[in-house]
Amino acid sequence: MKRSTRTLSIQKREALWAYVFIAPWIVGFLIFTIGPMLASLYYSFTDYDIISAPVWKGLANYQKLLFNDPLFWHSLKVTIKFAAMALPLNLVIGFLIAVLLNQKVPGVNIWRTLYFLPSVIAGVAVALLWVRIFNARIGLINPILQEYFGVQNPPGWLQDPNWAVPALVIMSLWSVGGSMIIYLAGLQGVPTTLYEAAKIDGANTAQRFWNITIPMMTPVIFYNLVLGLIGAFNYFTEVYVATSGDGGPVRSTLFYNLYLYQNAFRFFEMGYASAMAWVLFVIVLIVTLLVFRSSPLWVFYEGELRK
């Protein structure tokens, strides 16, 4: 009997069913992600104030952004300054905490929970809490600095242009538990045979840490680095709450996304804000690609052979 030509092969049928099952997600992705992205790309070439129809302007928004808006460069500088401080600290502190929590000590699960819990609290609540902690007159930190460390003139923190970004960096460390959990999972995946072999060869703790733990953890560090970079460039909620959306004092906390928000919803320049969003996308893409390109130099995967 001749096989019907309309019958699909097993592979094709399985593929089709796979598409059927992921179709809801694809539809949602198209409607709620790709659709708005394409709309914002269009708006980035227009003068659009939300209430009236967009007017085509070509590259004018991008030209203004790159050549005629000092606040664009200022906001980028503030964001990069924050990322340069927050990212290494988050990576190192998260990693070190994970190393400590990887020890077999009684009650370690409780400690793991305690360190992870802050990272699940919503951004707004965290920001409000830290605004209170950083209060230069009645907060937690300055009285301790004055009373126990003899600091005569403690910083004004969020009210001091020189200390506002460092304050936000400290605030960002609150959520280090998230990356800590991922490091912990990675640490528990390092083969113990490597440590045993190193011990036999006479390696001490520091040498085992430096020559086994860190290289074996580089894929996880790489992962957290990429996510951390993206997160740092998209930093918004905490700074919006801490500064009431003003980016003060004296624009010292005018992060890129905050300036984007101001252009969109305070100045009603949705077209310009859309251009900012796409420029941010390109910047983050370039930085991420650079990190990926650098990865062969410092990221080691298990079983990988190198010359």
Binding site: A23, S52, I138, G156, Q159, D246, R266, F267
Partner: protein
Amino acid sequence: MRTKKRFLIGLVMVLALLFLASCSTPDTPTDGGDTAPTDSGEAPTEAEGPAETAKVVIFIGMGTGTDPDQIAAQEALADEFNSSNDHIEVEFLIVPHEEAGERFLAMVSGGNAPQLVGPNGTSTISQFLDTWMDVTPFIEAENTDMSDFYGPVLELNEFPGKNVGLPLGVYPSFVFYNKDLFDAAGLDYPTHDFSDTSWTIDALRDMAMKLTLDANGNDATSPDFDPANVVQWGYDDSWASGREFAAFWDGPNVGRPTTDDYKTADASSAEWVEGFQWLSDGIWTDYFIPDYVGQEAYYAVGGDPFGGGLVAMFHSHTWFFPEGLIDLPFEYDIAPVPYNHNGTRVATIHADSFTIPDAAANKDAAWEVMKWLTSPEHISDVCQIYGCLPARISVEDEFRGVLSTNWPALDLDVVFDSVEFLDNPQHESWVPEWGKIEDAVNFGLDQIYSGENKDAAAVLESVNTEVQKILDEYWADH
């Protein structure tokens, strides 16, 4: 096999329908009752056809109106209106203030604009100026009597190219003072006599320095005064924006950082420089005004400089009455704003109105509701909800009674007489790129309060440059 095929086809069809439904454009509102003024300015006409109940949604959230007490009072107001009117149904839409701007824009761009928005301060009206309709044709068509509104207040609703609505209420400003702190310092209270020319900004400074105390009880005139440990300040005006603070000094354009034609920046006039330098000296040399770090102390007492008892004199408006004058543990009163160095007095004012979005349906009905809310019979009740003084002269006596019942300690003559000294151009008045210019001027104020730059002339020079750049960019496209 056949069952699986049918299932597959059915699922794909459902997904396709969902996708198409999400892509459909929103229904445009039916304009059954919409009789917007024509371009020629002709008077609106009543809709023809069978009478239908026109829905008027009043969007609350741009300004005040979102407290639980206010919500209940507004619902009662809606019931009162609806029971007396068969053709219009009023509904209050309460939106949290933090998201009101975005929600309003979303409604307008989505073709679902509310019929009335308010109570809007001048700043909100200015920021969203292009969204409001011009009610002049309504006023002219009905020959609406405007004589009962305070004359200077009527001017506050005049914007370039349009009158946005009937005035609802005003919030004049004055100096709140803590009598207990004055008594403890052995000082006379500030005069309430508006004609007393000895009550100047310099007299305020001298008084404030004696009322500023460090942790050891030394005042700011004492050689032992420790500026690093101030626990009580003589004066605070930290709730004022840059433009409002500058307006007091009565420069050529008062509270507006541009000339009349909005083309030239005027943010570094001699008066503005003098004012900002007075502020800088008050914070960093004489120490009677708290800087940003000092203001953090207010959060120990709920964020209120005056009610917390940390400040002897506080410049604010009548909207502070229901906010800050509740069960205070000390005696207090209000005094007129002092004379500035020009020998004039400027008591900055806030003003509220309801406005009708140009994109709204049922504009006729919205206008009827606006008239009802601002009518002599109802304006007093409405203003009690929002804490403003009714903009109508004829209800002043009635409203005095309300104020004296709620705040018997206050000299109400100061409240009503301060209206006469309002700032015009008002400090929230429209300028091109309102948000950007506001941001630029506040950046200047920021530099003073943070200590980043204590030289007012230098600060305002850079502010002026920034404002001029914004104006040049605006006019290049308009």
